[in-house]
Assembly symmetry: C2
DNA sequence: CTCATCTTTCAGTATATTTTGAAAATTCGG
DNA sequence: CCGAATTTTCAAAATATACTGAAAGATGAG
């Protein structure tokens, strides 16, 4: 397979993959494109390569920057802004975990804490099932939260090094 | 907070949470409802509680069954079908991981294997960056795949017991 | 076998999300 | 500063996704 085709496939599949994870297609595709591009690219480069509008490109680049996955780069002698993606995949994963934890897990845990204190007689099976379910989700969630914290703090690749040895 | 309100909040927030993970709102809500319900429920119970149509209810229950998160239950003396959700949260997580691994991670790894063998001179920086990126994603993915396999096979709660001690 | 009950399907409709493109705002070299 | 180049915004349009409800299909008690 030729590079052009391979690149095409990578970008298109990464986009589809992203949609299963609550990330929109275009955002994932721009990220994929930057990941496999050796040099920083401009908005126009990206627009042309992916055949998308200026507005769409701009919005999604901004979102990628918010997620900490893409950086604005200023090249001397150039008026335009250039963009580049973090290439260290471990850092990418860490960054995504960090953001999703903050945006999704933490608020959910706060809610569960509150819901666990529902009024009512625990002998009522409706109350009991509710409290038990909420409580077990909360406990698992808290544990996941701690584990992810550790992972984020780890300098070295937790997933790729520690786990291999420990669990084999 | 009263049980009715707490239940309402749990269901509604679980639905919103689900949408960030590629699961549709209704499917997540039905799951949430069954998780906090002590007894199995019929389609009509679910329709009424969530104010959704018969067709929608039916489709989403089926999907939950496909995912292995909900079971059809036949109560003796009853003509109707009843539904119940697995309440052990660890099992729920394991089941979800298993399905998503099969549906998403494995096909992606197959693609990456193929793409890593792209034609072209590795001295060309475009080829090099592409191969390096694909290769590092593939390696991390393979590792995740193995780790998840181990997690799925584990009888005991890998997340809640092993990791606490090992990484503290 | 019959028929009332329950389940499934799916075309049409509604809703939500994404994308466009042109206009407004900003930036910076001269 | 000026004005061309560049970036950003956002209302409208396009697309994708989810939901409804009625009709068709399946089931099982009698």
């Amino acid at each position: 397979m030729k590079l052009t085709e391979a690149k095409q496939q990578f970008i298109s599949n990464w986009g589809a993959f992203g949609t299963h994870w609550g990330i929109n297609r275009t955002m994932a595709q721009i990220h994929a494109l930057l990941l496999v591009s050796p040099d920083p690219m401009t908005q126009d480069d990206i627009m042309e390569e992916l055949n998308i509008s200026r507005g769409n490109t701009n919005m999604n680049i901004r979102e990628l920057i918010n997620w900490g996955l893409v950086d604005r780069v200023l090249l001397s002698g150039e008026r335009k802004e250039f963009f580049t993606a973090e290439k260290d995949i471990w850092k990418v994963v860490t960054q995504i975990v960090k953001e999703r934890k903050k945006r999704e897990l933490e608020p959910m845990l706060q809610l569960l804490d509150k819901l666990e204190n529902v009024e009512g007689d625990k002998k009522d099976k409706h109350v009991k099932t509710f409290v038990d379910t909420v409580s077990s989700i909360r406990k698992l969630g808290r544990q996941a939260d701690k584990t992810l914290d550790r992972m984020i703090r780890a300098e070295e690749s937790w997933f790729v090094s520690s786990l291999i040895k420990i669990f084999k």
